[in-house]
Each structure stands twice: as structure tokens, then as C-alpha cells.
Amino acid sequence: MGPSIYKNKKRIWVFLAPAFAFMVVYLYYPFIQNILNSFMHIKYMGTAGGEWNSPWYKNYLTLLSDPKMRIALKNTGITIAATIIGQVGIALVLSLLVSNIERGSGFFRTVFFFPIVVSATALGLLFNLVFLYDKGMVNQFLQFAGVLNREANQLIDWKSKYPMFTMLTPVIWQYVGFYFVILLTGLAGIPEDLYEAATIDGAGRWQRVRYISLPLLRGSISTCVILAVTGALKVFDLPWTMFVNGMSNTWLTGTYMYSKVYSDVDYASAIAVVIVVIGVILSAAVNRIFGKTEDFQ
């Protein structure tokens, strides 16, 4: 179809070429090159691959028995689970609450979303201070509340005692507002008369949530879970700022990949390939679990 004025297609490539050229040169080509790199031997960062590894899948064999990679995979798994439960869970509760109030929903939207626009580097630094051993915000709060006593040496060294908790708290906290907005938009799309009909039939507040809101939010929730999973695989800035070089064994696949980038280039490429593969498999799995619901929006 297409309107009749759009029949002359001779010069459309002039408009298409620049945008797609950027993507070909900076995304598709390097992506394929990276897969090849993971089978080659590369001496220095910034140089081309020399010969093929022998056996060609050598890096992947090494990955299987690399204890740090095992830690990174385990931690990434924990991160994914924590983001699904923590981020999407908290966001779901908050969005259901906000959809029930009459005043102030715009304010909460703006405030909840704010941490997302702040750089994760700044937040990592800030949370280093929040979780500081002496005079950190959390420990000071607990002191004021009378839970901890400084003189009795009861202060908690968050970063070395509970490293994963300390790292994941800001990671989760930062993006709750993001899923909150998506779910809130989903909730706004549910027709009001459904709730009215249910109320007439005697459904209480909780029953309306359970039998109307949640089933109809399925599509939005599935979108959120996919974004949380792929987001968890991309997390870098915050863990890197808080725990440089995987301090206290807080490696994630992303930070571990970066730590290898200069010392073992082709090995880092292989880690990157693993990150992509995990992302694709998990997204497909989420789609499967939630079923093919119609696209949100």
C-alpha cells in the first residue's frame, strides 16, 4: 500500500544509508568479528587475531574450569534472580498502590524514576559512603536506633561481610522506578468498567487485584522480566565502582570480562559471547513461561 506520493523510491537509500551504516560498522560487524576473535589468538588489545587457537574452542574449554568464571556466573545468576524478585516485585507493589490513590501519583512517578537518570558511577560512589564501616549512613542509622554500639565494636563491615547484598541493593534500588512506570502504564490500560463490574459482583480490593489487575498485567510483567534479565547481564558501572576488580569475589560476567580485556583479549571475547548466549536463552525462556501475550502498547 503506502500513499501514492511515496511511489518514487529512487532516493530513499540516501536517508537510510547513514543510520544503517553506523549500525553495520559499529554493531553487526564487530559482533561477528568478536565471535571469530573468541576462537583466535590475540596478543594485544587493538591488534588483529593471528592464527586460530588449537583446538579452536580452547577458550571455551578454559572457561569451563575457570573458578573466577564460575563465581561470576553464580553471582550473575543471583543478580538476575534478585532483580526479577526485587525490582519487578517491588515495582509491582508500588504500582498497584499508586493506581489506588487519588492524589500525588505524578509526584511519585517523578521521584521514583529519578535514580535511573543518575549515573551508576555516582551512585556506586554514593553507596560506598552509605555502607561505610565507620560513619556510613546505614551504620549510623543503626547506631541511632540503638541496634549497634560503636564502642562495643558492633559496627558492620558491609562490603566484606555481605558483599553481594551491598552490591545488589543499589543495583536493584536504582531501577525499581523504571519497572514501576511500565507497570503503571499497563495498569492504566485496564478498562475501568471491569473493576466496576467486579465491585458490583461483590469483589473486594484484593480480589480485584488478584483476578483483574494481575492477569491483565501479564504482558507488561513479562516485558519487565525480560528487561530485568537483560539488564542484569549488562550491569557494569555500579559494581565496578563499588568493588573494583571483583573485590570480595563479587565478579559478575560483565566485570570479569573487562578485567580480562587487556591481559587476555581473545578470552575476554569468549566471555562476551557467553554473555550474549545467556541473554538470548533467558529471554526466550521468559517468553516461553509467560506465553506469547500481545505486545505491550
Binding site: 506520493i5 511515496y6 543510520a19 564487530p30 568478536n34 560506598n128 573487562y258 550474549v276 505491550f296
Partner: protein, 285 residues
């Protein structure tokens, strides 16, 4: 009786919401507050307000004296501004064609478009590094070339998202305006730049802000390509201050405040566009 129960429930609802709002606001206020206190005061009580005796500009004096904050801001604005401008221009043109024209290969281009959002930066950065090293724009003696080596990959990284958002917006525009432009003899270029482009402004603002912020905050790319002091943008500068100042908490509070303030100001005025852009873009991908 029933009414009272609902009221009580509402109070609990508001309490929970306000509690979460406090977690998003308070840490930043805490940071701004402490940035105006000297080490000793921070150490005595980090919750005290920086008034009277406690107030000090020492941290900021310190930071500005030891680090070239202004040059980092300048570099950041050059990088992120160029990324936003180029993305708006090129993505808008491509979105227009993909929305209005039917042509062979369109399905393939759409497929490539969605694929473009799937690649994590990890999977492209090493070959990009090599390619740009070969072109001589990495570790170059010219600041401009080094900044360019961050700008180009960031443009590509935002392109898919931008095209998808803009295409969605162009679809909602009435085609009649373009038809009358055509009847008056406008070419494809004129129709786009004189009719479609101006109408897309709200959506362009969304895309522009999103690309700008994404680029401003992106530490990973900056770590690869901005390796010397004079090339540092604000995010990598902050990272370096963090590793150098270690236990000088006042300096850390001040630098967090400095990096967040421009973003906070932009957010206060444009939060509607930002929220819309970031969620719509992510959801549609």
C-alpha cells in the same frame, strides 16, 4: 464504619509510598549536605545540617584545585551533545523512510533494527577498539580525535532505539500534510525537513535527552577510549577521583554532587519527556 477503614488503608498506602520516595531522595540530599562540611564535621555527625560553623567550601576548593572539572564538563558536553544531535538527525531520516515507504528489503532492515538493540556492549567493544585504533582515533594526541572515538560507537548504540521511537511517532502524523507538500512540488528532502521534521519535535526531544543522558553516564565506553587526563569526560573523572581520594569523604561527596547536579536540573524541567522516552524505547525493543 466502612469509610473509616478505607481511610486507614489509604494512610498505610501513602506511608509506604512516601517511605520509598525517601529512599530515592534522601541519599542524594545526604550527599549534597555533606559536600558542604569539612572532614571533621562529617566524621562527627554525617546527618548534621551544614549551617553556621559546620559550613565549609573546602571540599569544592579542593576538587577544583586538584582536578580539571571544567575541562571534563566541556568534554562531556561535546561528546553527549554530538551524540544526541547526530542520532536525532540520522535516526529521524531513516525512521521517516521506514514508516512511509514500502520497498524491497524492508523486512530485513526491520529485523536488523531490533537486532541492533540486543547486542550488549561487551560483545562489540574489542573489535571496535581495534578498528578505531587502526584509524588512529584512539590514543591520539588530539583531544578531538579521542572524543570522536567515544562519540561514534555511542551514536551507533542509540540508533536502533531512536529509529523505533521516531518511527512510532511519525506513524501518528496525518499523511495529508505530506501529500499537500508533494502537490506543491516538494522533493523527498523538502517534505521531510520542512514538514515532517518540525512536527516530530516532541519525540525528537525525548530521543535527544535519552541519548544525551545515556552517553553522559556511560562509564564503560569512556574507560576504553578516554585514557588520559585531558581527554576525561565527567564520568570517568569521577571514577578516577574515587580511586585517588579513597578516604577523603568530603571530596567524594563534593564530586558526586558535581556530577549529579546538571542531571538533576535537566530532570526537574524535562522529567516527562525523559520518563516517556526511556520506557517507551525499552518496551518497544
Amino acid at each position: 464504619m466502612k469509610k473509616k477503614k478505607i481511610r486507614f488503608g489509604m494512610i498505610v498506602v501513602y506511608l509506604i509510598l512516601i517511605l520509598w520516595a525517601l529512599t530515592t531522595i534522601f541519599p542524594l540530599c545526604w550527599s549534597v549536605m555533606n559536600s558542604f562540611k569539612n572532614k571533621k564535621v562529617i566524621y562527627n555527625n554525617s546527618f548534621a545540617l551544614p549551617f553556621g560553623e559546620a559550613f565549609s567550601l573546602e571540599n569544592y576548593r579542593n576538587i577544583f584545585a586538584n582536578y580539571n572539572i571544567l575541562s571534563a564538563y566541556r568534554n562531556s558536553f561535546i561528546i553527549s551533545g554530538s551524540v544526541a544531535a547526530v542520532v536525532i538527525l540520522l535516526a529521524g531520516m531513516a525512521a521517516y523512510i521506514l514508516c512511509r515507504y514500502e520497498f524491497r528489503g524492508k523486512t530485513l532492515l526491520n529485523l536488523l533494527l531490533y537486532a541492533g538493540m540486543m547486542f550488549p556492549i561487551y560483545s562489540t567493544i574489542i573489535p571496535v577498539m581495534r578498528m578505531q585504533a587502526k584509524w588512529g582515533i584512539v590514543n591520539s594526541s588530539s583531544v578531538g580525535a579521542n572524543l570522536l572515538s567515544v562519540i561514534l560507537p555511542q551514536i551507533a548504540g542509540n540508533m536502533s532505539f531512536a529509529i523505533i521511537v521516531l518511527r512510532g511517532y511519525i506513524r501518528t502524523l496525518p499523511v495529508e500534510l505530506e501529500e499537500s507538500a508533494f502537490l506543491e512540488g516538494c522533493s523527498m528532502f523538502q517534505t521531510y525537513f520542512r514538514v515532517v521534521f518540525p512536527l516530530c519535535k516532541p519525540s525528537m526531544v525525548t530521543v535527544g535527552i535519552f541519548s544525551f543522558l545515556w552517553s553522559y553516564n556511560d562509564l564503560f565506553t569512556q574507560m576504553f577510549f578516554l585514557r588520559t587526563k585531558e581527554n576525561w569526560a565527567i564520568t570517568i573523572l569521577l571514577n578516577n577521583i574515587a580511586s585517588k581520594e579513597g578516604v577523603n569523604y568530603g571530596a567524594l561527596f563534593a564530586s558526586v554532587t558535581l556530577i549529579v547536579i546538571p542531571v538533576l536540573i535537566v530532570y526537574m524541567f524535562l522529567n516527562r519527556y525523559i520518563i516517556q522516552g526511556m520506557t517507551v524505547g525499552a518496551v518497544k525493543g
